[in-house]
Structures are given as structure tokens and as C-alpha cells.
Subunit: 332 residues, 2 copies
DNA sequence: TTGAAAGCGCTACCAC
DNA sequence: GTGGTAGCGCTTTCAA
């Protein structure tokens, strides 16, 4: 049996409603009384029963995150950042690695205040209790819940323009040309559009396809690329994990960044700065994305703001010294 | 307002205690009544309120898992397997990626039935409510909670003996000789003890140190090793992630497994079978480990069994064809 | 400033 | 078989 407010009331010789108020730091309780009650609570090793609290207040102060099966660094970084934001707002976060539909159902039974559906691999077939605030990210857009997304196309587009402004004409894109992954398709599109706009040809030399999004895929692609006689002066690549591999290959070829080659990577996460060569990167900064997601969900929960059904966040370039102009003067 | 059993009672014209019984499939309700009530519940879109249920039954049917900051494949596989076991036992699992102490505190407030502390990076300073069943894994052994561990030393020990039985005399170990990671230290010790026991010398040629436990660490170490003139006939390595890199290197050197070199890896997870070359591996099969952990926690919760403070699980070798005798005849 | 009492949604017990 | 009711631990009126 754990200790309840009644126990505290008994010991401190007050009514249990007074204890409740004291515990909630209500101004209605005399400081002396409050102090004594708090002391007794501590002595007794009292742990508030959230279950009971939630039952009456109809607030769990908890959000659920339907967790994908993720291996990608950038995505697990996002989950971590979301957790930080949640804690900062005095909420808890409950993760579930079950199937999305199962996860949401469970969250609902626990009466969480809101749910984030994150990178669902399976379609959201069910319509859940319409009162449950749900926010999605990276889910196909034909779902009834607000979605916070990221402008992938513009990210790579901006990267091309940035390199071009530095004077680069020979720019290559290393990425995974998946048929099904919308995000990868968008990135590639951004590359083509930008190159076209500034009058640079896109041929097979300028697009290097990887076999996936892992570290080794980047490594293998970069190795193939770097063996060529006619090297690009600048490289754009599609993810953090790819970057790791690409840098290894660049190292093995004894190339200096940015003296021999400029590199800009997708995924604006802090880990970019901790690579063997810190990389300039483009994308929505992960902390901003996390903050936006959590604040949006909180708005949904508190009904303080109505949300647009789709919100696409715009990318930023974060300079970390891996790009210069092609004549080898550092530009960032 | 979500619908409650009272709403159901009103609509179906019975008392709400009958509804409660029907919903819990009690034999005390006439099948007809039950059927009708269930139908009404469905029509109304009723979702049981676990919060209320938990309050009275003092059971949340949920266990909490204090989630480490993991990057290692084998560990996230373990979490997934644990989740499967939990679901199989009609429980829910709540994950927290917060600091362990914070996580347990939160779980306690939510009155979870039990907690698994998994690979805690920070020491467990606090003693939590002594009534909360807690099970740990991979945590330093000077904690007051039962711990389920894995015999790392014996794993590698058995691997050496296995290779030796096949006739190998030139056996190398590729692993991360961390000063602080007890598990890595134990693996290395297992190698030394076994080699010593069968009268083989351990020199710098037989131990190849990696710089970490990532994929690339394995790749880099293997490349260095394979350049030697005097190749070992068999290789033992310390983790799944290392294996991935090692196989890439082996491939690049155009070596055949097991014809040119036998490989056995630590980490007994199914992914081993899905590598470019399926690898024979040693360790406690991850599903067995997960099952043991969940069952143990459930025992703790239901007090059906008392647990020893430390339980160390013994490894198995799972043969997947990557080992032969040195004269190139497949052995497994 | 404190206390009494209602009630959150549900289970479990006891009557009928 | 079914209904009435107490009570889980807490917050929140309302009275004193």
C-alpha cells in the first residue's frame, strides 16, 4: 500500500482536502500549514497517484509518440529532440514501438492528452476518437490529421543555389533514388529544378545513386565517384548517414574539404558538427522542427490555436566550413 | 466528453454494473444481454477508460522500459523483442528515453506494474518505492534490483573452442577493447582464457582492436587485418555491427566465407542470417533473453516466483554456415 | 484559512 | 441474472 493524501492528513492533523491544496501549492493554505504538510509528505515518502489525479482532472499531461522502426540517425535525433521539448513543457512522453494503429489505441485508453504519429510505415486505416488531438509527421498526406512536414525539395534546391553562388559549376548529388520514398524523390527533384534554373546540365555524372540510405551506401557511392578523372568541385548529399560514409571515402582518397571538394549535406542536425570534418548542411534544424511539432500539438490540446492541415517548414543552411569557392578560398 | 459505461447503460436500458460485467465478459450476464450491450458499446464508440480501471483495480497492465541512448543494432533488437513478449502477455509497454531516474519516477506516478531498466548509462542513485518491481539488464551489479545478464566471457570462450574443434589454430579476435565497457572486457577475457586453455598463443596478431563498435570500426580493422601476408584461418568478432563492416572488407578482398576464412560473430540475433553472408554467431538468442526478462518481471509482479539477484544466461552457438575446417570443408 | 462532500469512470461486492 | 452501492485517490466546489 502506498501512502495517500489521507495518510498525510492524518499525520499532520488536517483534512485531506487541505493536504491536496498544499500539495498543489495553493495560495489558500497558510504557509505554516503548507510547510508542515509538505514535510510530512516527504517523511512518509509520498508519491502522487497520477492515475487518480488524471481521473478527476481529465488531463494526463502526457503525450504519446507512435514510434517508427527507425534506424536513421536523423530520425532518432528528432525523437530525442521532441522528448526534450515535451519535458520542457512539463509533459511526459510515452513511446510505443507497436504498430501505429495499435499504439494510438493504447494511448487513447490511457487518456493521453495528445498523440504524435511519426513516420508511420503502415497506413492509418482507423479513425480514432475525434477528440484526441493527433499530429503527424512524415505520413502520407491523405490522412485526416494535421501534418507537419519539411520542404525537402527546397532544401536541395537551396543547396545548389548556394554552391552556385560560390562559383561552382560542377555539382554532384549523391542520394538514394527510391521509387517509394517521397522524401528522396523530392530531394532529387529539387536538385534538377535548381540545376536547370541556373543553366547547368544534369547528366549521369551529376547524379550518383546510392543503394540505400546507410553509411555504407554513401561510402560505396563516393568511392565510385572519386575514382573518376573529372571530379565535381562540389557535392550535395541526401542524408547524415550518407555523409558519414562519404567523408570516409574522401579521406581515403586524401582529399581535403573544402580545398579539393566542397560538401553540403541534407539533415540539419547538430551531429554534423561532430563529424571528422564538420559539414555545412541544409534542412530544417531539428530542434526547430521538434519545437514546432510539440508546440503545435500543445495548441491542438489546449485549443489555443487552430492548425492548418499541412504545414511545411522551410530549410536553412547551417554553415560549418565545408564549402568554399572552387578556387579553394573558404567561404563559410 | 467521451462515452462511459453509464451512457451504454442508459441506451441499453440496464444498470451500469451490468454493463461493466458484460464488457469484462463476465459469465454472470445473460448472453443476450451481453450481446446487446456489446453492440451498443460499439455503436457509441466506447473506449474503456484505463485510468479509471487502473484506479480501482490497482493494475495498469503496463510495464515501463527505461530506454537507453542506443545506437547498437543488437540492443534495439532486444527492445523490440521485449515489446513482443510484453504484448504476448497482454501487457502494454511504455518507453522512456529520459534519464533513468527520471523515467522510473514517471513510471511510478503512472503506477505501472513493473519496470525494466535497460543499459542505464548513469548510476541508479535513487531507491525507488520498494513495492515497485524493477528488473535490470546490463546495469552495474551493485544495484539492489535483480539483474538479468548474459555471459559474455563464455560466449567468446565457446567460439574459440568451437573453431578449435574444427581444426583452426590461427584464430583472431576483432573487438573493441574499451576500458570502461565491462561487456567488451569480458569478451576479450573469454578469448584469452580459451586460447590459453587450448595452448594457442595470444599475440598482437591475434587480437585486432577496433576504435569503437560501429560498422566502420569493423570495416577498418578488417581491412588492416586482411592486408597481412599471414592471414588467420578464422575470425571471431565482437558485435553484429562490427560484422557488417568486416564482411564488406572480406568482400573487397575477394575472400570467400568460409572457404578462405571462417567467421563467427558475437550477438545471437536473427539479422545475422540476413547479412550478405549469413554468419554463425554466438550469444544468448535475443528472443530467449527477451522472454526471460519479461517472464521474470511478470514473476516479480505477480510474486509467483522469487528471483535470484543475478541471473546470468548462457550463450548458444547458432550455425549459419560461415565456419568450416581450415581445409575448406564446410562444417556447419 | 480550513473542512466536508461530491464526483471523475470504473470494479466488486452484496442484495434481490 | 441483474441492480444498487461503496470506494479507489484525487480535485474542486461550497460552507463554515
Amino acid at each position: 500500500m502506498s501512502v495517500t493524501i489521507k495518510d498525510i492528513a492524518q499525520v499532520s492533523g488536517v483534512s485531506y482536502s487541505t493536504v491536496s491544496k498544499a500539495l498543489n501549492d495553493s495560495p489558500l493554505v497558510k504557509p505554516d500549514t503548507k510547510k508542515k504538510i509538505l514535510q510530512v509528505a516527504k517523511d512518509l515518502g509520498y508519491t502522487p497517484n497520477f492515475v487518480a489525479k488524471n481521473l478527476v482532472s481529465k488531463k494526463s499531461n502526457t503525450i504519446g509518440l507512435a514510434w517508427p522502426t527507425i534506424e536513421q540517425t536523423a530520425l532518432s535525433t528528432l525523437v530525442t529532440e521532441i522528448n526534450k521539448q515535451v519535458v520542457k513543457n512539463n509533459y511526459f512522453m510515452m513511446l510505443s514501438i507497436n504498430d501505429t494503429n495499435h499504439a494510438v489505441e493504447m494511448f487513447q485508453k490511457f487518456r493521453v492528452d495528445g498523440v504524435i504519429i511519426f513516420e508511420a510505415e503502415t497506413p492509418l486505416v482507423k479513425t480514432f476518437d475525434s477528440n484526441l488531438p493527433i499530429l503527424t509527421h512524415g505520413v502520407s498526406s491523405n490522412n485526416p490529421y494535421p501534418i507537419i512536414d519539411v520542404n525537402h525539395r527546397k532544401s536541395i534546391y537551396e543547396a545548389v543555389l548556394y554552391l552556385n553562388r560560390l562559383g561552382h559549376k560542377k555539382i554532384s548529388y549523391v542520394g538514394f533514388p527510391s521509387q517509394t520514398d517521397k522524401r528522396q524523390i523530392e530531394k532529387l527533384k529539387g536538385f534538377r529544378v535548381a540545376m536547370n534554373e541556373i543553366g547547368l546540365k544534369v547528366d549521369e555524372d551529376s547524379i550518383i545513386s546510392t543503394d540505400g540510405l546507410t553509411w555504407y551506401d554513401g561510402y560505396a557511392a563516393a568511392k565510385k565517384l572519386l575514382q573518376r578523372s573529372n571530379l565535381p568541385t562540389a557535392l550535395i548529399n541526401g542524408s547524415y548517414d550518407l555523409s558519414v560514409g562519404i567523408l570516409r571515402a574522401v579521406n581515403e582518397f586524401n582529399l581535403k574539404v573544402p580545398e579539393d571538394i566542397s560538401i553540403i549535406s541534407y539533415d540539419n542536425i547538430p551531429q554534423m558538427a561532430r563529424l571528422e570534418t564538420p559539414l555545412t548542411s541544409v534542412g530544417v534544424p531539428v530542434n526547430q522542427l521538434a519545437e514546432k511539432m510539440v508546440n503545435s500539438l500543445l495548441d491542438l490540446i489546449n485549443k489555443t490555436n487552430s492548425l492548418p492541415l499541412i504545414e511545411v517548414m522551410e530549410p536553412e543552411i547551417t554553415k560549418r566550413g565545408s564549402c568554399s569557392n572552387p578556387t579553394y578560398k573558404k567561404a563559410d
